[in-house]
Amino acid sequence: MITADRLTKTYGDRTAVDGISFTVQPGRVTGFLGPNGAGKSTTMRMVLGLDRPTSGSVTVGGRRYADSPAPLREVGALLEARSVHPGRSARDHLRWLAASNAIPAGRVDEVLELVGLTAVAGQRAGRFSLGMGQRLGIAAALLGDPPVVVLDEPVNGLDPEGIRWVRTLARQLAAEGRTVFVSSHLMSEMALTADHLVVIGRGRVLADCSTAEFTAAHAASHVRVRSPQPDQVATLLRRAGLDVAVHDGELRVQGRDAAAVGELVGRSGLLLHELTLVRSSLEDAFMTLTADSVEYAGASR
């Protein structure tokens, strides 16, 4: 379990993380979502003891990360920025990591196998593609078989197959009872991976709820109706108790699904040209929610 309590980090007069509090529970994937510059990576670095909080605290399993005697066996982390020496082979990178936490050397080949890097384990990491680098980072995170896994932007640079692999892995780790904390700036990806969401913008928590709740609250849907007799159709639907809005020639109907709307109109004998269920995407919901907190919003700054 990860617990942040009024966690704050300022750089000079810029506040990167502004008193955020949240809890990451074991047994589920918690998505940490926010636009670039929202403070995700800074928060991740404070979780891992790399940066010192200006105020507040964050603990993993009840204690500060830096107080852990063998942190790799308690928290596995994939950091966003590459943290591998390009001149060292993948196997050697994992070997020294294992040695530092007294993890048996045999575990190195196990995690290489797990992430599918066995064949290239002897190659220098600098020759790896972005995707292979991410796999190596994930291998390092799993090296100590930790109960808590922190992945900062794990799907960056991965091909679709790799993205699905990470998604499956994260869900599997959570199913094993681990605490899984995954950051991303991609709402659509998080909707598929995470059970729970912590959304931040400009260093503040904007939402902390289950993915389903977030979807229900923020992703509205309506039925789009086109008809050569829009006024009659609108009157008909309103009389049936539905909410109808008119947008240049099309009707946006809320309150019933497409089938129900179609039947109502059909029975009345009015003409229909289009009947479509329109779901505003989670991406839209996320954009709306974080619109005020985007660091570099076009030319507005």
């Binding site: 790399l50 940066d51 852990s68 790799l72 066996r73 020294w96 009872g177």
Partner: protein
């Protein structure tokens, strides 16, 4: 669920940190390259200069002490110790690997101590072997001209081990500067500039002021231990000089250690 909540079986101590640093040190190519260059420059140049000046030394044409020649190449070989010392630290900052290091071992003092032990012990051995090889090669020519120095001669054995000590100190100095500036080129410029440029420039300062700054500059104070006799009679004695050098290195290292433990990675 079997894999979850495994308690720390054995608490990894300083030995684990040391093993990790040892593996890191020997799994990048800069280490064998630097040490190879040290041997080639140190032993090779000593042998070469002894071969070229043996006859002149025998005729006493040069008016220079023979003892200053048997570890002559160390002056150039010291560059490799500076490079290696700086890279051990700045290589981590340049590649972002320092984040992996500090997530694996959050006790930063232990990380720094382990790095220092690995670097200093390796440089001590490499510096001593380089000086020994140079003496073996150079002395072969000096012996033939009748001016060779035996290991038992005054200061020879001390200079061989002293070369190792000086290399170790120089490596630590570069590592400490690297920790402060976190940038390879900057660290190299500062340390090489201090040792090669500033150390020689201060000799032109007038009077006692110039004499003492010359004596106390790290490269001047520390290098005297690496040679049986010096070209420069102004320098401090071998052990006094090395003590001054060691104190300077310790001071920079202490500042670097405090910075390292407090700054964000």
């Amino acid at each position: 669920m079997t894999a979850v909540a495994t308690p720390a079986r054995t608490r990894p101590g300083f030995g684990a940190t040391l093993r990790a640093e040892w593996i890191k040190f020997w799994t990048v190519r800069s280490t064998p390259w630097s040490l190879g260059a040290m041997l080639v420059l140190g032993a090779g140049l000593t042998t070469l200069v002894c071969a070229l000046s043996a006859d002149a030394l025998a005729r006493e044409d040069l008016g220079e002490p023979v003892g200053a020649f048997v570890t002559w190449g160390i002056v150039f070989a010291q560059v490799t110790a500076v490079v290696l010392g700086a890279l051990v630290v700045t290589g981590e900052y340049g590649t972002g690997m320092v984040r992996a290091t500090l997530t694996a071992t959050p006790r930063r003092g232990a990380v720094l101590a382990a790095k220092a032990v690995v670097l200093a012990s390796t440089l001590f051995v490499a510096g001593t072997l380089t000086a020994l090889a140079g003496w073996l090669g150079g002395n072969w020519f000096l012996d033939r001209a009748g001016v060779g120095l035996a290991l038992t001669d005054d200061g020879v054995l001390r200079a061989l081990f002293g070369s190792g000590l000086y290399m170790a100190g120089l490596g630590l100095f570069a590592a400490a500067v690297g920790l402060l500036v976190r940038h390879t080129a900057a660290a190299l410029s500062i340390v090489l500039g201090l040792v090669f440029v500033v150390g020689n420039l201060v000799m032109v300062l007038p009077g006692a002021w110039g004499e003492w700054t010359t004596k106390l500059m790290p490269g001047n104070a520390g290098s005297r231990i690496a040679t049986p006799e010096s070209f420069n009679p102004l320098l401090l004695g071998p052990w006094v000089g090395f003590a001054v050098f060691a104190a300077e290195v310790a001071a920079v290292l202490a500042v670097a250690a405090v910075t390292f433990t407090r700054r964000d990675a």
